[in-house]
């Protein structure tokens, strides 16, 4: 029987160790009553490294090689090689949570810098060092509202076209509370502000809006939404991402109390939905923030040093009175996002955001020129993505596009959605040509 390739014991060492502990064999060390002992097999064959690599390459090779024009919450921007090489350093990748700060200053400083970048991007006083993804960050935000708002209400207001994954996660998070979810209408891809005003009442504790929206529209009425929420004492939570925030209105300036969203737009390639939950909020919620926070302090020599702080909010100290049950978060992805942001710098980040506007604008115009297609459907400024109207059934067009090597979203019987970034822009003309083949 071959053992674990990662257990270093020679037979002689095992024998010596067993002898030292006075056990006849390894089995003697297990205190498992006979009836619940397992003497079967899992039936999993061990593989050599080489076999494993071949097998997994074969397995993953069954994925079709499509050029993706997909977004709706999961986006790909080109991640420079240096982010891979630095984040893969084992000191980062194979370290644990920083419970001994004296020997984990490196990761702590990197997370402190991540928090700081989000503070700059949101204009809010605090950012935590990550949640799982945009959806769980939204759920945590609603619960934060439940903890800190003085209003009696229990209504969480979200857009009627909130992406299903987010809605469902939010529903799960509020299920253990008194909160309930209601929706407000969307008009032309963004919030119907009049309807929202009607929907917000004294039982509203939380108003959620997005920019860009799930349809890629830049929300033009953020300040008004903030005022509507504020008028009823509700928390205004804005959903966005760090690339968009580098040119769009600063959340703090439109009255956002909390910003959530997908920070994995930086640092993460397409990863089948794996993300990085952005969570920033006003300083007044300091003691109620969910998740980990890194703070600056000093060591015994008076040298600046970093440490996890305000841990009394967390589950390992506060147990059932913690602000969240989160323990492991997405620290390494946050590290990568910080690296990517620093690689770009302010100039690169703004340039990337501008590209997200102009690439979408240009592609929509090109698609609009194709017979049988209309784009963008919403009369808004767009960021990365937009909805396309189709004369032919949308699903048939998408299926045909897949044959041509492209993936787009089907979001209605005659509605497609297309997302363009720096990562797929080189194939935009090919996509348009494919549309011309299949859309008429």
């Amino acid at each position: 029987m071959s053992g674990s390739p990662y257990a270093p014991h020679t037979d002689a060492e095992t024998a010596a160790m067993l002898d030292a502990v006075g056990a006849a064999d390894e089995a003697a060390l297990f205190d498992i009553p006979e009836p619940v002992a397992f003497d079967g097999e899992f039936g999993i064959e061990p593989r050599s490294e080489q076999e494993l690599r071949r097998e997994m390459a074969d397995l993953l090779g069954r994925n079709d090689d499509l050029t993706e024009f997909l977004g709706r919450g999961h986006y790909e921007h080109y991640v420079p090689s240096v982010v891979d090489s630095l984040s893969s350093r084992s000191e980062f990748l194979t370290s644990y949570t920083q419970y001994q700060p004296e020997i984990t200053q490196g990761f702590l400083q990197a997370l402190f810098e991540y928090q700081s970048m989000l503070v700059e991007l949101t204009g809010l006083g605090i950012a935590n060092c990550s949640m799982y993804d945009a959806a769980t960050a939204l759920g945590e935000a609603a619960l934060l509202a439940d903890r800190v708002r003085s209003v009696d209400g229990e209504v969480v207001l979200v857009p009627e076209n909130l992406r299903e994954g987010k809605r469902s996660v939010l529903a799960n998070y509020v299920d253990g509370s008194d909160l309930r979810i209601e929706t407000y209408p969307i008009e032309n891809g963004t919030a119907d502000v009049d309807a929202l005003d009607d929907a917000v009442g004294e039982d509203t504790v939380f108003v959620y809006a997005e920019t860009p929206t799930v349809r890629g529209c830049i929300e033009p009425n953020l300040a008004e939404i903030g005022e509507i929420a504020d008028a009823e004492g509700a928390m205004f939570c804005l959903g966005s991402d760090p690339v968009a925030l580098s040119i769009l209105e600063e959340p703090a300036s439109v009255g956002a109390d909390v910003v959530v969203g997908e920070a994995g737009v930086l640092g993460l390639p397409a990863a089948y939905g794996m993300g990085l939950g952005l969570f920033a909020c006003d300083e007044e919620f300091l003691r109620q923030v969910p998740g980990r926070l890194v703070g600056a302090s000093e060591d015994a020599d008076g040298t600046r040093a970093y440490t996890l702080t305000l841990q009394t909010r967390e589950q390992h100290i506060r147990k059932q009175r913690a602000t969240s049950n989160i323990c492991t978060n997405q620290a390494w992805v946050a590290l990568r996002a910080a690296m990517h942001a620093a690689y770009l710098g302010a100039d690169g980040l703004v340039g990337l955001a501008e590209d997200c506007v102009t690439l979408a604008r240009d592609l929509a115009a090109d698609i609009d020129d194709v017979t049988g297609l209309q784009a963008p459907v919403d009369d808004r400024h767009h960021f990365r993505e937009f909805v396309v109207g189709t004369d032919q059934p949308a699903q048939a067009i998408a299926d045909d596009l897949e044959e041509e090597g492209f993936a787009v979203h089907v979001i209605g019987d005659h509605r497609l959605q297309v997302c363009i970034t720096d990562a797929n822009a080189h194939a935009a003309d090919d996509l348009v040509a494919a549309f011309e083949e299949v859309a008429a």
Binding site: M56, E102, Q109, E120, A271, S297, Q330, Y343, V350
Partner: protein, 470 residues
């Protein structure tokens, strides 16, 4: 022989400047959007690539990792992360969007289905969801499944029972799911006190959450009886998978009577912890609970893998399909080790814990323990002993937890340490214990940062470089 820490000090004031202290720039957007939609400007650091590389290289050298040396954090299972799993996960074919059609991502779905199957076999469960992005999210999923099950039975049970020695996430999860927590005291032998359990169980009991071996490494010998008590009251038995690395191939939660469990893929299946994530917390359930697992499901049909939906499913716990890249690594690890490797991993993890406990000059109140042991530092302050251990070049164990052991040092070397490494680790323990109180109080002194003032960090929180400038 003991190790010094890697030291990388830049100046008396700081070990490495913040990026913002190196070079920043302020830029305005160039008018691709109307002014009323845009911010005024943005200020961020702009290191060029060589400087960026040096910054993070230096930061990495100031960070302990499993490739630095022993990392015996009890309950955290810090084991070696095979680079081959990284290479596998870096396959370009793994970089796909979650909204792809099922037919176009048969590789991804096949891998996920395969991992579900592996995990089910390893845990003795009937069905598995891979969606939870961390262990705590797995707990949340599992308790939500229990809630949905009771609701489907028309029951509105309000309590979750948790041993007082359990992981903090158990308590927080139960609360998050809207349950009242009933804490169970430990028995004198460090295990579940059956009388206390029987007293606590009622028709309000939704579930008992249990770790086995428990957080001081003891197998809950009465597990069958515990299961009967809970099941008889109509409750469900939830297995916290944090300590599964002790049992691979020796016992399965499903065989012990557990209805729901989560797997910590970092702890048991060697996915890198990444300094705090991403993790993954797949959840397994018995057949009866399968309908409640979150959507979408991955189903194998004659024409390949497809997405399925269950009407009774709980709401989701992740916006997409969880931490996919972590799941790839977990699959690779399991496939690399197979039955024999997995069983050996547990055997050696238990052997290592027992051997190390034998070598260290510390009392271990409870036993027989498995993959970890909770020693007591006795008259010394466990936290200070830990800080002093840093000076001898190892990462210390978890301290002051679980509370049932005074000045606890919960130690888990895992299977990856050699006898020689354990001997050196024991020397570091003994050197720290043999230090004076003053030496321990002043420790560490040979590390990148000396002892850090945690109190002032919390009293005057400065959580960003902007806050430092205030």
């Amino acid at each position: 022989r003991t190790y010094d820490q890697a030291v990388y000090a830049v100046s008396d004031e700081e070990n490495e400047p913040l990026l913002s202290e190196k070079r920043s720039e302020t830029v305005e957007s160039e008018g691709v959007l109307p002014d009323d939609l845009t911010r005024d400007d943005l200020t961020l650091p702009n290191p060029e690539e060589p400087e960026l590389a040096r910054h993070y290289t230096r930061l990495s050298q100031m960070n302990w990792s499993i490739e630095s040396g022993p990392y015996p954090l009890g309950s955290c299972t810090m084991k070696y992360n095979p680079p081959v799993t990284e290479d596998v996960a870096a396959d370009p074919n793994a970089a796909v969007h979650p909204d792809r059609s099922a037919s176009s991502v048969q590789g991804t779905l096949g891998l996920l289905a395969g991992l579900q199957d592996y995990l089910a076999r390893i845990g003795g469960m009937d069905a598995v969801t891979l969606q939870p992005p961390a262990g705590a999210a797995g707990e949340f999923t599992g308790i939500a499944v229990a809630r949905a099950y009771h609701r489907a039975n028309g029951e509105d049970r309000s309590e979750v029972l948790i041993p007082s020695s359990a992981h903090g996430t158990n308590f927080a999860t139960a609360a998050l799911a809207g349950y009242d927590v009933v804490e169970l005291p430990s028995g004198e032998d460090g295990r579940v006190d059956m009388e206390a359990l029987e007293a606590a169980v009622s028709s309000d009991t939704a579930a008992l959450m249990l770790t086995n071996p428990n957080t001081v490494g003891l197998f809950e010998r009465d597990i069958e009886e515990i299961a009967d008590v809970v099941h008889d009251a109509g409750g469900l038995l939830y297995y916290d998978g944090a300590n599964l690395n002790a049992l691979l191939g020796r016992a399965r939660p499903g065989d012990m009577g557990f209805d729901i469990m989560h797997y910590n893929v970092h702890k048991t299946f060697a996915t890198p912890h990444g300094g705090g994530g991403p993790g993954a917390g797949p959840v397994g359930v018995v057949e009866e609970l399968e309908p409640y697992l979150p959507n979408p499901r991955i189903e194998e049909t004659e024409s390949g893998y497809e997405f399925g939906e269950s009407e009774d499913a709980i709401e989701r716990v992740h916006g997409f399909q969880g931490n996919w890249l972590v799941l790839v690594k977990a699959y690779a690890y399991i496939a690399r080790l197979g039955d024999s490797g997995l069983a050996d991993a547990s055997a050696k993890a238990v052997l290592n814990a027992n051997y190390l406990a034998e070598q260290v000059d510390l009392e271990v109140p409870y036993g027989p323990f498995h993959h970890e042991f909770a020693a007591t530092a006795g008259d010394a302050a466990a936290a200070d002993v830990a800080k002093r251990m840093l000076d001898f070049g190892v990462h210390p164990p978890t301290t002051n937890w679980p509370e049932m052991v005074p000045e606890a040092m919960l130690t888990e070397p895992t299977e990856i340490e050699s006898k020689q490494s354990l001997d050196e680790l024991a020397a570091a323990f003994d050197a720290a214990l043999g230090s004076t109180d003053e030496e321990r109080h002043d420790a560490p002194s040979r590390t990148t940062a000396k002892r850090i003032d945690q109190t002032s960090a919390a009293r005057d929180p400065r959580l960003s470089w902007q806050a430092l400038e205030e």
